[in-house]
């Protein structure tokens, strides 16, 4: 049987007010992007704890994409100030432990940026495809 192309599982945490609306816009304007992303709508990207991201990786996600409002546009004024602090820290900590930190990405996407959403999801999916399955997933599969 021919080897099938690796289809990564990507978890998206999108903020309700900007990125999720941006995804809506991408949808109604019929922009195409890969279906590998599973979107979880959150009220603010600042509610995403590093614990959630780590849990996603533990459960077999190959990539995690966080989408939030641009700085200054947060519906809750400064919620995304915490997002960037947490995610930058988590990326650096993952790097220290040898986990590919590039599997976690944070992007500011507004409700008007449908094309940017489609482009980001496409680029991120391609990147994860080229990186291959997450090492944590390989580990979990071995244990099971």
């Amino acid at each position: 049987m021919a080897e099938q192309e690796f289809q990564p599982k990507i978890i998206g945490f999108f903020c309700n007010w900007c990125t999720y609306a941006g995804a809506d816009l991408a949808g109604v304007t019929r922009l195409q992007y890969p279906p590998n992303i599973r979107v979880i709508r959150v009220m603010c990207s600042g509610t995403v704890s590093p614990h959630h991201v780590l849990r996603a990786f533990q459960k077999g996600a190959d990539g995690v994409l966080i989408g939030g409002c641009h700085i200054g546009d947060c519906h809750y004024l400064r919620g995304n100030y915490m997002t960037i602090k947490r995610m930058r820290f988590l990326q650096d900590l993952l790097k220290f432990t040898g986990f590919e930190a590039d599997r976690l990405h944070l992007e500011w996407i507004s409700a008007a940026e449908g094309p940017k959403l489609a482009q980001t999801v496409t680029a991120f999916t391609n990147k994860i495809k080229s990186m291959g399955p997450s090492p944590l997933k390989r580990l979990t599969a071995k244990a099971a």
């Binding site: 849990r55 602090k85 930058r88 820290f89 900590l93 790097k95 040898g98 500011w108």
Partner: protein
């Protein structure tokens, strides 16, 4: 030691403090003990334990403060204990006006072992100030490893975990009432070794909070180099947010408030 006994005795007899949290020698072992005015004679047995004998006095003090919120206590502190107290003041767990310090400087040998950046407290009543160790060689070694080698090394360590929660239970800075490590939906229950992310979740909570006392590592039955992980967390907090964990100088922890401005930028895809 006589200096400490004298200081504590006068604090107790003048009624300035309700108790002295220090160490007592029992059967040859230094154990944490609360000395009070009613049992002044016990002060004769008060000791400063050798460098490597330590208990989380900060943690005991939190329990005391909760139980006797009106009382002031004096506590024996090393450099790390004082950093812990500072951090606990900032997190609203202790009232600085109700704590009096009895300072102990660590011997050089201990500071070298701990790679301690501040081996003595602001008040020194016992011992000589020794040289701090500004850089951690253990962190530098992991930094110099390649990504795959670092990953394999950490996986090997994490796989030994028996999930005893000793690191959390001994930690003077773990004051949360609910713990993410026990969350049934975020952490697999009843699994040994625990999820690979177990230590990482703790490392995240320790960033900007760990005062590098090293009790976790000493308590760990599996010899997981937790301290290296937490030291790196603090280095990153310093690098990203310019926050010195355990000092009173640099304001509140970056995790305590959203902040007034954003200095970081997202990484390019």
């Amino acid at each position: 030691m006589d200096k400490i006994r004298k200081k504590v005795k006068s604090l107790l007899t003048e009624g300035k403090v309700a108790g002295y949290l220090g160490y007592i020698l029992r059967e040859g072992h230094p154990l944490p003990h609360l000395f009070t005015r009613d049992h002044l004679a016990e002060l004769e047995q008060a000791v400063v334990p050798p460098g490597d004998a330590r208990y989380p006095l900060d943690k005991i003090l939190q329990a005391l403060a909760r139980r006797y919120p009106e009382d002031t206590f004096t506590i024996q502190v090393r450099g790390c204990d004082e950093r812990g107290l500072n951090e606990l003041y900032k997190w609203g767990q202790l009232d600085p006006d109700k704590v009096v310090l009895v300072g102990v400087a660590c011997p050089q040998e201990q500071a070298d072992y701990c790679e301690c950046p501040g081996p003595y407290p602001s008040v020194v009543d016992y011992g000589e100030k020794c040289n701090p160790v500004p850089q951690s060689r253990r962190v530098a070694r992991i930094d110099s490893l390649g990504q795959e080698a670092a990953f394999q090394e950490w996986l090997g360590h994490f796989a030994r975990c028996v999930k005893c929660y000793g690191c959390r239970d001994v930690c003077p800075m773990c004051f949360c009432k609910e713990c993410g490590l026990e969350h049934p939906e975020l952490m697999s229950i009843g699994k040994v070794p625990p999820d690979t992310i177990f230590q990482l979740v703790r490392a995240i909570h320790m960033a900007g909070r760990c005062i590098d006392c090293g009790l976790c590592e000493e308590a760990c039955p599996a010899d997981i180099p937790l301290r290296v992980l937490y030291k790196k967390g603090n280095l990153l907090v310093k690098e990203l947010f310019d926050y010195d964990t355990g000092s009173l100088g640099t304001g509140l922890s970056p995790w305590k408030s959203l902040g007034d401005e954003v200095t970081l930028e997202t990484k390019p895809l």
